[in-house]
């Protein structure tokens, strides 16, 4: 347990420069891929590796790539999703900052496999520093002949461009991202057609997350079968987990999939347990969009098995007693955290970020925010909890893009597991009104 294939070299001083990266085996995999393999052989290795998208949805990457295999002649595109805006998630920022050439090497190999000659990296606009680091690394790669015309004498040509977003969570959704890249508002497209058929400029397109594309390098280096030995079951490989909230060691960790949640949370190698010796209340294991789980259900499944950091184990129990691995944004709440306040906060986020195209999302997110606000501030009524459940239910599955679901799940799961906190707020308006709303004291009173 515990192999690292993405971050194993980040402690080497100067690894963000091309010289040091090359001196440590960097771009050797690119040479292997371009000189010894055909595009379909590369896709085949990615399929064998069992790699699943690291952006949140977990779709098998090799399968996504193979959708492009039989498409018509003419340009096709690879777009790298570095929009990273899901609350709790900050792993792609870390990877770009620490080892930008790993992403670039992955981008070149992947573009070759897909037959893309122009590749765009869409980075959220706030990451100016990381955009600078990545742009510099790209210039170094051009200067070394890894980008541009006739790369390594193979006849393959590729340009990589960094494209800055401008502050909109929705642009992380792949079709909104494509709209944004075309210079428009980030309104998601109705699917089908999927990007593999009609993507950027109506051409066949693959959109992949930063971490997914970086993982292509170790996959080609080791071979798909060897990579698939890392991890557990169908959750192959490693995953970057960004840990935050009330823990001792917040930060980004590369874990081998299958590590137990308990070890990840409590071992000093990772989160180092809860801060100030507090008790665990809840964890959101995969970014703000996935269901929140109370302490007992995050450490063990409903059947009493150890919960593991893997796609299957985290979703064991479905939405009744499980959650999702999502983007790997691991948010830890201690005993003082107020679930009602947090749920209201997340609702405000989704309302703010809804693109406004479909009424269930546009109106429903605002409605949930309003109801949660009144509960939080001591003005809730006895019907409000059921009202929230019903709004969430009517948003879910009825929208153009999954932001609607992403807004509904945190509310539905918070009520499923912490209904008593919502009811306490409603039944004790005087207590709720008289405490400073963002003081830890609030919850010591309210939950007991």
């Amino acid at each position: 347990m515990g192999r690292k294939v993405l971050t194993d070299k980040i402690h080497i001083p100067g690894i963000e420069t091309i010289e040091v990266y090359k001196n440590n085996g960097g771009y050797e995999t690119l040479k292997k891929a371009l000189k010894q393999m055909t595009p379909s052989e590369i896709t085949e290795e990615v399929k064998k590796s069992g790699l699943r998208g690291r952006g949140g949805a977990g779709f098998p990457t090799g399968m996504k790539w193979s959708f492009l295999e039989n498409t018509s002649v003419g340009p096709r595109y690879l777009v790298c999703n570095a929009d990273e805006s899901e609350p709790g998630t900050f792993k792609d920022r870390f990877l770009i900052e620490k080892i930008p050439h790993l992403l670039i090497e992955g981008l070149i190999i992947s573009s070759f496999a897909l037959g893309a000659e122009s590749t765009f990296v869409y980075v959220r606009g706030e990451f100016k520093t990381q955009i600078g680091i990545l742009s510099k690394a790209i210039r170094e790669a051009y200067a070394s002949g890894f980008l541009g015309k006739n790369i390594l004498g193979t006849g393959f040509s590729l340009d990589i461009y960094v494209h800055s977003g401008a502050g909109a969570y929705i642009c992380g959704e792949e079709t909104a991202l494509l709209e944004s890249l075309e210079g428009k508002r980030g309104n998601p497209r109705l699917k089908p057609p999927f990007p593999a058929v009609k993507g950027l400029y109506d051409r066949p397109t693959v959109v992949n997350n930063v971490e997914t594309l970086a993982a292509v390098v170790p996959i080609i280096a080791l071979g798909g079968e060897e990579y698939a030995k890392i991890g557990v079951g169908k959750s192959t490989g490693t995953k970057l987990i960004s840990a935050c909230g009330n823990i001792n060691n917040p930060g980004v960790y590369e874990i081998e999939l299958g590590l137990s949640v308990d070890t990840f949370l409590n071992s000093n190698e990772y989160c180092g347990g809860l801060k100030n010796g507090k008790n665990l209340k809840a964890i959101v294991p995969g970014g703000s969009s996935v269901p929140i789980l109370p302490g007992n259900l995050i450490l063990k499944t409903a059947n009493g098995d150890d919960r593991l950091m893997s796609y299957e184990s985290l979703s064991d129990g479905g939405f009744v007693s499980g959650s999702m691995l999502g983007s790997g944004g691991f948010i830890v709440y201690d005993e003082d955290a107020c679930i009602v306040r947090n749920t209201w906060n997340f609702s405000r986020f989704y309302h703010h970020e809804s693109c406004g195209q479909c009424s269930p999302c546009r109106e429903g997110t605002g409605w949930m925010e309003k109801v949660l606000h009144r509960i939080e501030y001591g003005h809730g009524t006895s019907k409000d909890v059921d009202l929230l459940v019903s709004i969430a239910k009517r948003i879910e599955g009825n929208t153009i893009c999954p932001l609607g679901d992403a807004a509904a799940w945190p509310v539905a799961s918070a009520i499923r597991h912490f209904r008593h906190e919502f009811e306490f707020h409603i039944e004790n308006p005087e207590i709720v009104k008289n405490i400073k709303h963002h003081s830890p004291e609030k919850y010591k009173v309210a939950v007991s």
Binding site: G88, F90, D159, S242, A243, P250, S288, H438
Partner: protein, 192 residues
Amino acid sequence: MSSNIIDHKLFKIEGRAAQFSAETLEKVKSIIARYPQGRQKSALLPVLHIAQEELGGYLSVDVMNYVASILSIQPIEVYEVATFYTQYYLDKVGKYVIEVCRTGPCAICGGEDITDYLSAKLNIKDGETTPDGVFTLRTVECLGACGYAPVMQINTEFYEFLTKEKIDTIIDDLRLKANTDKPKESKWVEKF
């Protein structure tokens, strides 16, 4: 009602000279050239960033119309984009725009107190600018740095693990620098 529409900021032509320097214009053209023929509109977001940075710190109608002319698109296509994305400012902002994260992970690590403290210290509310034009305070959603909470961004710089003491130092430093610092630097070449 109709007078409200006329008063809307998108109808206020200021007559400000909005034009890139020859050098910037070259760079803008090189950005446009990244995208396929006929898809020059793709350069809209990057060019708006440059315009905002180099032409006064916010996007006035004059600036947006100028960008539309450079990209050969209709002004409305620029307005609809500029009003969608939170990083584009449609109103004049201070020299230093302070954007404090208000989302869950920061909030449970004391982010809300940081916002209150900043607001009291600068004596302005969310969205306002100090009368001397030095600071604008805005709360924003998750900045993608949740492990370093509480977090804020001032212009392009991130400030992490914030405490009241740190805020004091940062704000006092910037107040001093405000007199000597040049107006917004145009270092975007490095950034794209």
